[in-house]
């Protein structure tokens, strides 16, 4: 039978390292294996191998028999057999644990819904009394751990008396707390009383659009959100007139440049021209006018000081903007002239991504006018593959999802004007129902939860982390917060500080990126002008 195994890879090389592994009771390979134990020629080959280790614990003592593999063969064969027996004893007694896999789509696994289930009906003042007052139930003593529990109870009663005095000292309303930048909304303030109704109305009408009770209208949704900030004093016609003016200019660009209306790339090219170049156009009265390109607003781009800087309304009037309102403006203009374009997110940033007729996507940075490749976005190091997998960054946002995101914008606007509140939470949750893994909404919830933890901590006099078991309320809130943090990290979120963000924005202007951007621009031009 030996001849049969000529081609077998095992027998090809007698000195193969695998000879360690083959048991001797099989009829298949024993001859060659035992033979190579006895033949001196093959010894040198085995010596070269880096076969493990000498002398560490039990295992290596057995290996010590194995390694030389030369002096006498039979005792070693016995050694191997004994080793196999012992190791099998060891190994069969092990339990194998299965690791759990990360899941991205299941938002229900979060504790988002565990807090106040119906926040809109809860008056913040009521919620103030119910949620944040500490629970003074003493822990039940366990018979087995008598000594420990006695200690704990003693400690607990000390803390209790201490707290009673503390609480009377610090008996303030939630909204009076100023904790590390987290501000709670004051429902009794005159501004809140005046404007909160506008927010509720805006929420209802956008929600109706999402449910299909009203027709889809992104323009109106954006107007509603921004108008709530101004207490519903703005006029919709004013907003639409501004957009119509831009559409009028765009139509002239398309006419002058002889662009193909059926080609999505050329329609987008027209909008980009409006964004980037000084455009000459004729007024409705026939007067020649110029439109300046949109500029990045370097003053307070995050809108910390003046939130209205984030508004589309502002970018339409002032021709300047940042990474929130410029892409939205682009998107609005694109829907008006029937071009396909989507907003996409990257850390603390949003930009436009648009397909050509073959469904190949290009990225356009509205803030700098650069065209970026996906490789460039990923090489910045702040967009990981996990973030793309889970759909939080760089994935084109659908129209319905963008509408849902307006609700979250409304919530954040509410936070910026009044302070954190259940309204913010409600907006974020509704957004997540339509747009799961919307990173801004998730962050909004986790920020709210962080504020809650700080507030509870404040009422309990900021207990030490070692004693946290004694404060079930605080522990509960902290667990919720930590779960939220873990979930967001799991999605591939990376934090980007203001400094890094500025650096990254500048890096778009680096030479290499510039070259790349110009190349992409050229290909778009080629496709728009020459190939049509």
């Amino acid at each position: 039978m030996r001849f049969a195994f000529k081609e077998n890879s095992l027998n090809k090389e007698n000195g193969s390292p695998f000879s360690y592994f083959f048991s001797f009771d099989k009829t298949v390979t024993p001859i060659s294996n035992l033979a190579h134990l006895f033949f001196a020629k093959n010894r040198q080959k085995t010596k070269e191998l880096n076969f493990p280790p000498k002398q560490i614990g039990f295992a290596s003592q057995v290996f010590a028999h194995l390694t030389p593999f030369s002096q006498s063969a039979l005792p070693q064969a016995f050694g191997i057999l004994i080793f196999i027996f012992l190791v099998s004893l060891k190994c069969f007694s092990q339990n194998i644990q299965q690791p759990q896999t990360p899941t991205f789509n299941n938002t229900n696994s979060l504790n988002i819904n565990n807090g106040n289930t119906n926040p809109i009906n809860n008056n913040p003042t009521q919620y103030n009394n119910t949620v944040f007052t500490p629970n003074y139930k003493a822990p039940l003593p366990n018979e087995k751990q008598n000594a420990q529990t006695k200690n704990a109870i003693n400690q607990y009663s000390d803390i209790k008396s201490e707290l009673n005095t503390k609480e009377s000292k610090y008996k303030k309303q939630l909204w009076e707390l100023q904790l590390k930048g987290f501000r709670f909304a004051n429902p009794n303030s005159p501004e809140y009383k005046l404007n909160h109704q506008c927010y509720l109305a805006a929420y209802d009408s956008i929600n109706d659009m999402l449910l299909g009770k009203k027709p889809y209208n992104l323009k109106r949704a954006i107007f509603l959100v921004e108008n709530a900030y101004y207490g519903n004093k703005g006029k919709y016609k004013q907003f639409t007139d501004l957009i119509d003016n831009y559409v009028y200019i765009l139509k002239q660009i398309i006419k002058n440049e002889n662009l193909d209306i059926n080609n999505n790339l050329s329609l987008n090219y027209a909008i980009q021209k409006l964004f980037l170049e000084k455009v000459k156009y004729k007024d409705k009265n026939g007067i020649v006018k110029f439109h300046d390109p949109f500029k990045y607003d370097f003053e307070n781009p995050m809108g910390d000081k003046d939130y209205s800087k984030q508004f589309v309304f502002k970018s339409l009037i002032a021709n300047t903007g940042q990474c929130h309102n410029l892409p939205l403006t682009y998107k609005l203009l694109a829907t008006e002239i029937g071009a396909k374009a989507n907003i996409a997110y990257s850390p603390n940033h949003s930009y436009i991504t648009f397909p050509d007729n073959d469904n190949y996507y290009y990225n356009f940075e509205c803030t700098s006018g650069a065209f970026t490749s996906y490789a460039f976005i990923m090489s910045s190091g702040y967009v990981s593959s996990n973030a793309i997998n889970s759909g939080i960054y760089t994935v084109p946002v659908s129209d319905q999802q963008l509408l849902a995101n307006q609700l979250n914008d409304l919530g954040i606007q509410h936070l910026m004007t009044f302070g954190t509140d259940d309204f913010q939470l409600q907006c974020a949750k509704r957004t997540l129902e339509v747009f799961p893994n919307n990173i801004m909404a998730l962050q909004s919830i986790s920020n709210h939860q962080t504020a809650k933890v700080q507030a509870t901590g404040y009422y309990l006099g900021f207990p030490k982390p070692e004693n946290i078991e004694n404060y079930p309320d605080l522990k509960n809130e902290m667990d919720k917060r930590n779960n939220m943090y873990d979930y967001i990290d799991m999605l591939g979120y990376t934090q980007m500080s203001d400094e890094v963000y500025k650096k990254w924005l500048n890096s778009v202007n680096l030479e290499k990126a510039k070259k790349e951007s110009e190349e992409i621009k050229k290909t778009i031009l080629l496709k728009v002008k020459v190939l049509n």
């Binding site: 095992l10 990923m378 990981s384």
Partner: protein, 358 residues
Amino acid sequence: MKLNFKTYFILFFFILCFCEAKAQYNRVDSIQKNFDKAYNELEAMLNGKQQASFKRAVYLVENAYFDDSLNYNLYLGLIDYYKKVALAYNKVNKLQSYKYADSLKQNLNASLFKIFTDTIKTIDNQIASTPFQYNFQDALGNKDFSSTFITNLLVTKKGNCHSLPYLYKILTEELGTKSYLSLAPMHIYIKQFNKKVGWYNVELTSGSFPLDAYLMSTGYISHQNIVSKLYMDTLSYKESIATCVMDLCYAYMRKLDTLSNYGFIIKCANKSLEIKPNYVSGLLRLNGIHNYLYAKYTKENKSDLAIIHKQAFIETNKKLMKLGYQDVSEETFNKWYTSYQKDKSKYDNTQINTNFKK
């Protein structure tokens, strides 16, 4: 009748030929039997009839390739040895400046990484283990398919992008921490999660923690690939075992060097695709075999069968197109890998610290 030397020789020759032919037949038969046995056990794991174990699944593939002669206990023993070294190292050495809730697990991971990349010595200055290295001679297993095996890695200490991450995954499972396989064009690497950094990549072939950008620098992973989860996604435990089913398929093809029993190949590919519908090598294999069969049946003038396989071929092609698959040759892979080796520090994730206290 007297027989001289010549007749003896001729007789002997005939007997030899007979034996050869019969043994050849037996060989194919026994190989088929071994592979079927391994497949059945893998299928039982995937169906939940048997407890799923990645360690066992890897063993099954390699054992089938070695004609059911691989000693399981010795295999377990060697893995157990490295587990013990890692635990011993972990007991003595503590990580520098890692103060997060998962510091114990991170310490275990760091010590395992140390064992993969460095020589470990005992207090008596005895060498406990030497690092696992990348096999530059036969990285893709073209000369000897078994060079992509874990058993080879355990003994020769030289592995490739298949055996190194597989062994790492097995050992993390043994140590009680989590690691996930992740796919790239002609490449497999490890993804892990910790509280400090979030997700990070472990590249054992070069012993570093590269950023995602290093894979993007191949130019063969498009945005579409990542969105469709073709590449760079974390594989679940079941999906990892599904990769073993495909390994079994490849081992089978290498063992027989023919496509004669295509039934087994199609069975393996379909099973792996059942678990992970966008598994590249499953789709590619299925695509290849349908193309082969289409050509074969058109030659034999069996138009009915040919049409069926043509349609299946087109379907898999469409699926691959949808996922944004691009063909990558071995040459480009090698080119990319060597260029990556040259400036690997450029792509290092500096946030991860594996320095131990001295």
